[in-house]
């Protein structure tokens, strides 16, 4: 980031906007392309997405480098407005409108370098059709400078005011731009997958940035369904999108019938947001050395919230067991270590490790017993699942060697019926696994003191959120 500021001060104004990209060593970046706009300026997202893909890639790669250099989580880049200085410059290169065709007071020493930049964004939202062509050729209207100081001062103040406003607008806009750019690259990847799977893509899908889907109920539903069928396979944008979507739907006031998988994903995203909030409260409570009674309230609220997710999961398992088993509602890294639709009950205590010390002898024994029993139960369920799979293999691979055609069909149907009943037990296994997880959590809570339990919940939650962050970083890693 600092390199951009350095670039800003060292270069002449007309090279200001794209010098940063030269610094990055992107040799194929063509400034002419950046400023080339055939039609009138349209700052809606369609123009953004109509850019040549090379431009998009340039920013994409550089932004991700920044993510690594500055240690910002890729997910945070989407959600926060910080770190957008470079993309702000990128925005200008798409042909930002300039009001009135000239920048006034450009040479005025009273303006800082930054305000030079923001001055160009003063009329971003106006309908003026003036455009920036082939390099930031900025004309200074000499005649106006020669009028009185008063006018100059007034204009300066107006400029500052406008600059301030436009800076805020720019921030919000760039934020939306970033999120939709990332979504675009993700959706492009998912498009292939979706086409293979034959998912219907709603035609009402606008190329809009952000989530302002308006229109009548049917349009909304189609758009939602179309977007969501893609987004189900793209987690990066996933959580915040689904959270906003659930808000949007609830504010819409009408009942929207959604596929069970989508409904669970939305509820889970909502749950996760709420969980983060409760965990943050707990963390600040622990750090501010609250008394045991107040801390206990915070711990109880987190535990009660965990009860909620297990209720959600039991509904989800009954509605769509394979979706729960697939773990598509989790991030890739979480999915990798998943067991029967969730975390391993034996893993909970392994994660906690030494964080629980000091423990009394009784507590230590309790923890050891819990570790052992959760491991045994987990192994039992795993072996049951193996038996299930073996039974399914036996059923589906049995050869029907009846000579007559009708015999074949009858055998086939009977085998299928057996296989169906085997699959039905899958729901039961998922249900038992969730019960196991829930009970392990509750037993851990019973053994520990309030303070220990608070620490344990924080450690466990941090582990999971870091795993999610790892997924984000992994997906955003620069590829050759």
């Amino acid at each position: 980031m600092q390199s951009f500021k350095a670039a800003a001060t060292h270069t002449t104004p007309d090279m200001f906007c794209h010098s940063s990209f030269f610094l990055r060593g992107d040799d194929d970046f063509n400034p002419a392309n950046a400023f080339h706009h055939d039609d009138s300026v349209d700052l809606s997202s369609s123009s953004i997405f109509s850019l040549k893909s090379s431009n998009v890639d340039v920013v994409g790669n550089s932004l991700h480098y920044d993510a690594f250099n500055t240690g910002i989580r890729a997910a945070e880049i989407v959600s926060s407005g910080t770190g957008c200085l470079d993309t702000g410059q990128f925005m200008y290169q798409k042909g930002t409108t300039l009001g009135n065709g000239h920048i006034e007071n450009w040479g005025d020493s009273g303006l800082a370098d930054n305000s030079q930049q923001t001055d160009t964004s003063t009329d971003v939202d106006t309908d003026d059709k003036n455009q920036l062509q082939h390099g930031a050729i900025i004309t200074v209207d000499q005649s106006k400078l020669k009028t009185g100081d008063q006018k100059t001062l007034r204009r300066l103040a107006q400029n500052r005011e406008a600059a301030r406003k436009s800076r805020l607008r720019k921030k919000a806009y760039v934020q939306q731009l970033e999120s939709s750019r990332l979504r675009l690259t993700q959706l492009e990847q998912d498009l292939q997958k979706a086409r293979q799977q034959g998912i219907f893509i709603a035609s009402g899908l606008s190329g809009g940035h952000g989530l302002s889907v308006s229109g009548n109920g049917e349009e909304v539903f189609d758009t939602v369904l179309g977007v969501c069928s893609w987004c189900l396979t793209s987690f990066f944008f996933f959580r915040s999108f689904l959270y906003k979507l659930s808000q949007m739907i609830s504010s819409h006031g009408s009942m929207v019938l959604l596929p069970a998988a989508l409904a669970f994903d939305m509820d889970y995203a909502h749950w996760l947001n709420e969980h983060q909030r409760l965990i943050n409260d707990l963390r600040s409570g622990l750090n501010s050395h609250l008394g045991d009674s107040e801390l206990r309230i915070l711990v109880e609220s987190v535990m009660a919230h965990y009860d909620e997710v297990f209720k959600l999961k039991s509904i989800g398992v009954k509605a769509d067991a394979f979706h729960m088993l697939s773990g598509m509602w989790k991030t890739p890294a979480e999915r990798c270590f998943m067991w029967l639709g969730g975390f391993r009950s034996s893993e909970l205590l392994k994660i906690l490790g030494n964080h629980l010390e000091p423990l009394t002898d009784q507590q230590l024994m309790g923890i050891c017993n819990l570790q052992q029993s959760s491991q045994q139960a987990e192994d039992a369920l795993s072996q049951g699942m193996e038996a299930l799979q073996q039974a399914l293999v036996d059923t589906l691979s049995s050869a029907c060697l009846a000579p007559t055609a009708s015999g074949n069909v009858a055998d086939y149907m009977s085998q299928m019926a057996i296989a169906m009943s085997k699959l039905a037990t899958l729901e039961n296994f998922l249900h038992q696994a969730d019960l196991l997880r829930h009970q392990t959590l509750q037993q851990m809570h019973r053994i520990l003191t309030t303070r220990q339990a608070a620490r344990a919940l924080l450690v466990f939650s941090d582990y999971n959120s870091r795993l999610r962050a790892l997924s984000s970083l992994w997906l955003a890693r620069p590829r050759n």
């Binding site: 049951g384 037990t425 296994f429 038992q432």
Partner: protein, 125 residues
Amino acid sequence: MHCQTGSWGSYVPTTRTTVGDPLERIERLASENAVVIFSISSCCMCHAIKRLFCGMGVNPTVYELDQDPRGKDMEKALMRLLGSSPAVPVVFIGGKLVGTMDRVMASHINGTLVPLLKQAGALWL
């Protein structure tokens, strides 16, 4: 610890008993051994519960209801007893009903299963 399918504890073959109440039969069978499991040979959840006890070092007595001529009646009786389907697997320890898979797992996690087993004499330190 060897735990092979088909040689679970002692399988008691049915003798020429009179037409008795299936529930009575269940209770009689349950009280004959420390740990008794009623199961169905093709049921995978039953397999899981057998594995659980085996992993703890317990040698349960297993009655496969699909291999028993009066298994159907017993299954129905168990369903009435438990108030839900499926009827199997169901575990009796020391002649007393513990329950089906979720109850057994819950009691194992909260630490009440092992003392119960020790009390019934199915588990030694």
